[in-house]
Symmetry: D2
Subunit: 361 residues, 4 copies
């Protein structure tokens, strides 16, 4: 009930603090007989791990994932899932013996310090404890397992806005995403962003961003009407990522400005007499159920709250103070949110795929 | 698992189609000893019910709610909840013996017709069946019960954009909301909208809208970290409303454009040495937990898909056709979504209030 | 969280008190395209309804079930489920304007009076309110729907013990079950029981009983290891019936007395090279998963707590009193528990069937 | 949905196979600020661990538990829970490089071999994989945490029957439980059992047992009516333990033989004008809710299915074979089920305590 789990049939429970010995997760509900190795997961971990460029935190964590249960090598020498819970573990290696006394009693603006203390009466101030984005490493690990459940679905994400700078959608090229440190699909924008973010970084400041996730080749019929709508659950999955403050499906807020004629996606016959949609304002979801078109979701990530500028705040003891958050921080947490967004959509689709396969919503 | 329930401790299950004998819901988890009558609920039903102005559907449903269980009149003659499930029922009275043969086999663009058929192999085409917005009547009923669980919390909503026309936030006056048919807090905007929407209506067209919900006097500590964040669950609740395609908490997508200095809400001491926030970009939620400031959420509603203009589509049998949706439709479903948005936030907050009171997340 | 629901994929939520206007349930998760009419359900309601013989309460309730949602007549004129929630309702017709003042403040021994008051601070004393066995009528209704989900599975139950009198298992004849008022499979025992229970009834006393439920033709593979064992969930389902105090699967407590050689069911090859078990001590479940043999479960029902003999008790106000429960009571509630037990097993198997079909546990 | 979790507010998820690198669990929902160290847990692990006497398996596992998350040392140097998930891990150290080829394809009678294969198409035959009773080690660990949530409740269990030999209840002495290798409260019975079980052991046979769990000082009001009855959930918790085939609450099956006069527990006034029950046939639960009297539950454990006698069976490939299960097995798994039964009741009560404290059922 403390809600460290998500998903219904493909169910992930994460645990661990940034300054404990390890973090981990349990994936319950993964079907049996799916080939799965640590390497399958590690590639995705590496995309998210810190220290990949000067634009992400310089914390050094190898983020090496271990599979502790739920797999077995079969007679052909292939390691496969057995249908039992998959326990994944990542050791924390870069727990610097830093002096946290400065922030121990000071509520950093924008952080969960005050609300955690108010709710629980205790808070692991070392590196943010459970509220640290380090938890998202295990989401990425679970997402890698989820992808194996739905191998035909292609899930990719990209950064489409950083601060006020949006990409030019006409330049969209998925191949570019792996060629710059921003997961940016627009090569020109990526260059501009590098300069812009260098300025932000050197000023000890931070900035927000928008991530777009696209899932292609999604079967028709995933999702359920009413409270289990696919867009509902994708939104919840994305909104649960640290620092996310907004979510859109398809054309999202733009739909508010359109007329019914402009917005509703018309249909003609496609392959196998299945409808072919002439546009995709719906983002691949109608009435909460996938329609076979690409699923498109976007989420807004607020700027990193840890900045080098002094801000007004109060202490746990009820004194007014000024706070400055030293340390190794991401100037734009939106960058490392890209693989996390992919992972959350992967988990949600795997969950709905299993529900739909079972004809149970 | 067909997901007709929402909430954990304050749990609502809805049932019913627009053309069946009745619709209803069961509210399970409402605490005992709360005064509750049908009148407490009816006022909110009336705000949502159709036919209130020329800007909503002319379907006539009294939407008279009945309480079938879960209450008892005590020794002082006051009807109170007993802690047992509260069954609420609304009879459907305006099921016109309309001829649905025209849309029976035609997939209306923007509607769930195709995806329902693809998923279930059967679809109640009469008035949209379960996908009809009529289901939201029971959300409003449940929301009225939820408000009684958290009587100190004030939950209000307003329409802040219709098509391309936004309100002027400097004109915001909550009293105006009940004085125009749009739940608009800006009297000047409401006048402009009336003209604009008359044009839309007469053209047989429709348009989208944005609704803003504000909850004041929310206790500090509601919500849970990680997957049970209060913003996660409010987003899911709002995204589950028919036709919603985007959700924001606090400054939402605008946060993407800001720096850390601009975005993080600074603190000074307030009453009782509790922090007072100098701004509310966070929309009252930090790290997934309420911070005592007003909770602010916005959602985008797409234009009604039922329009009088002919659109291209296909049939169930795999033929290309043109479709026009006759009937009595809302030119802007965003209007009647206002009380629904309030209700969804009320239910979510009541649920989290009970979790927090029990110190269980 | 007040736990008025059971099942995961085939999920039933009941509501209603014995003295409210109606009782009902919502069945969520029933697959679409299953033929279902009120008549399909009514036959099972009639088996449970009161007043069928002198051995059950003389309360007269027709228990006529209505389907309010979730079905639709298809083109061939057959009413079928649509996959949306099925709302079932039974009106309460025999709410005698009885004077309850006598028990209003007196805690009847063996009843939930004291614990309800202690927990909720309010209790519907009229006919037991929510704790009345009247709630089980809706379990039977839901069970009738469940049977349609697993039409090949045959689920039957019988009374195998009443007070100290057990049946002779050598006389077991399923055909006898419908020929006597006890659902007794042993004609000789039924005659003896009639005399015995007449004595109990005339003395204003009551007596306990044991019910056995047998499910034949259950597919191999229903259930899940660890916490979702099929025996775990059948036990919970049966133990949730009013007045049940013990549950056994297969040979149950007798297994404690056996050696490993005696207890483990040996195997030889059966049809299709599938194992054939030479005995069924396991009651059709191994490691929590059905093995294809008949599932056998037994449950003990305590004697009706409402008796005409005066018993010592206390009042709500803290006074010692003597209590005698007048009214129309079942001398042996175990009799009417027979169709309820069948229904609970039917719902549990339907739930596990859907899980298994979806290959999801 | 593969159901490796139990509990609602105090929620435990276990993972791991007997022959993987480790087993573990995640306890989600434990309240913050509860002192908790590995030593608090280890004592209970030691009661269950193998090799304690000649009457349990000679497998040697130190079963040393590690806490990986969810705790923090406070300013007074006391390690306390933080309200975040508690991850517990036990390394598997005694994974003998045994030759399992003999049972790899043979279905051992009484084991889950056949049903696992039928359900999942893959089965970890090494030591039983997930179906091994080794999983119960983590239940005991979770139970130790649960006890800290309800420190005033005293939960003890004892073996009351082994094969056909029951204890003499007049000899019941809780102090004896720790003085013999059977957790037997009757010193005389323990001596007799030693001889009896030596015979069983030397014959390579096994035998069943009955365990009784007693929880004292349980607050009034735990449990919920209908499907969340305290007896329902205790039954499910106990029935989910490997090899359990029957569960009773209070006088259990004996209640079937009694009259209403004999069975219903009469009341007189006790301390604080709270009712005092003159007997406890109900086992401390009325209408599914605790009444303040000791909660009494019993469960039957079938004999270990692994025996040295040859039994008839079939292979995975569909051949008839004879099977003999060599290895280090418990002659009576009921003995080590005693601390497991305690743990399951502790978890269930902690869960209900949190629900009740939150006034949410």
């Amino acid at each position: 009930m403390s809600h460290n789990s998500f998903g219904h049939l493909f169910r992930v429970t994460t645990w661990g603090e940034s300054h404990g010995p390890a973090i981990g997760c349990v994936v319950d509900g993964c079907p049996p007989l799916i080939p799965l190795t640590e390497d399958d997961i590690q590639g995705f971990m590496d995309k998210r791990k810190p220290g990949q460029s000067r634009f992400t935190t310089q914390r050094r964590e190898p983020d090496q994932v271990k599979i502790l249960s739920g797999v077995m090598i079969d007679e052909d020498g292939i390691q496969k899932t057995t249908g039992t819970p998959i326990s994944l573990l990542v050791e924390n290696t870069d727990q610097r013996s830093k002096d946290y006394s400065e922030i121990k009693d000071r509520y950093r603006p924008g952080h969960a310090d005050y609300t955690y203390d108010a709710k629980y009466g205790i808070r692991d101030y070392r590196g943010g404890g459970r509220s640290s984005a380090r938890e998202t490493a295990m989401r990425v690990a679970a997402g890698a397992v989820a992808r194996k459940v739905i191998p035909d679905v292609r899930i990719r994400a990209a950064l489409v806005q950083i601060g006020p700078h949006k990409i030019n959608r006409d330049n969209w090229d998925w191949d570019q995403v792996d060629l710059n440190p921003f997961f940016c699909p627009d090569a020109a924008a990526a260059e501009l962003w590098a300069d812009y973010l260098d300025g932000i970084r050197k000023a000890g400041s931070s900035v927000g961003a928008v991530v777009e996730v696209v899932a292609e080749n999604v079967p028709v019929g995933l999702g359920a009407p009413i409270y289990g709508k696919l867009d509902t659950e994708i939104s919840a999955a994305l909104m649960s990522i640290n620092a996310v403050k907004g979510v859109e499906i398809g054309n999202g807020f733009e739909a508010a400005e359109l007329t019914g004629e402009e917005n509703a996606d018309e249909m003609r016959l496609g392959n196998g007499s299945r409808p072919r949609f002439l546009s995709n304002n719906a983002g691949g979801i109608l009435g909460g159920i996938s329609n076979g078109d690409p699923i498109v979701a976007r989420f807004a990530v607020k700027p990193t709250s840890s900045i080098l500028t002094t801000r007004q705040s109060v202490t746990r003891q009820g004194e007014e103070v000024d706070v400055m958050t030293k340390g190794r921080h991401d100037p734009c947490v939106g960058i490392r949110a890209v693989p996390v967004g992919e992972a959350m959509v992967a988990c949600t689709l795997a969950d709905h795929f299993l529900r739909h396969r079972g004809q149970i919503g």
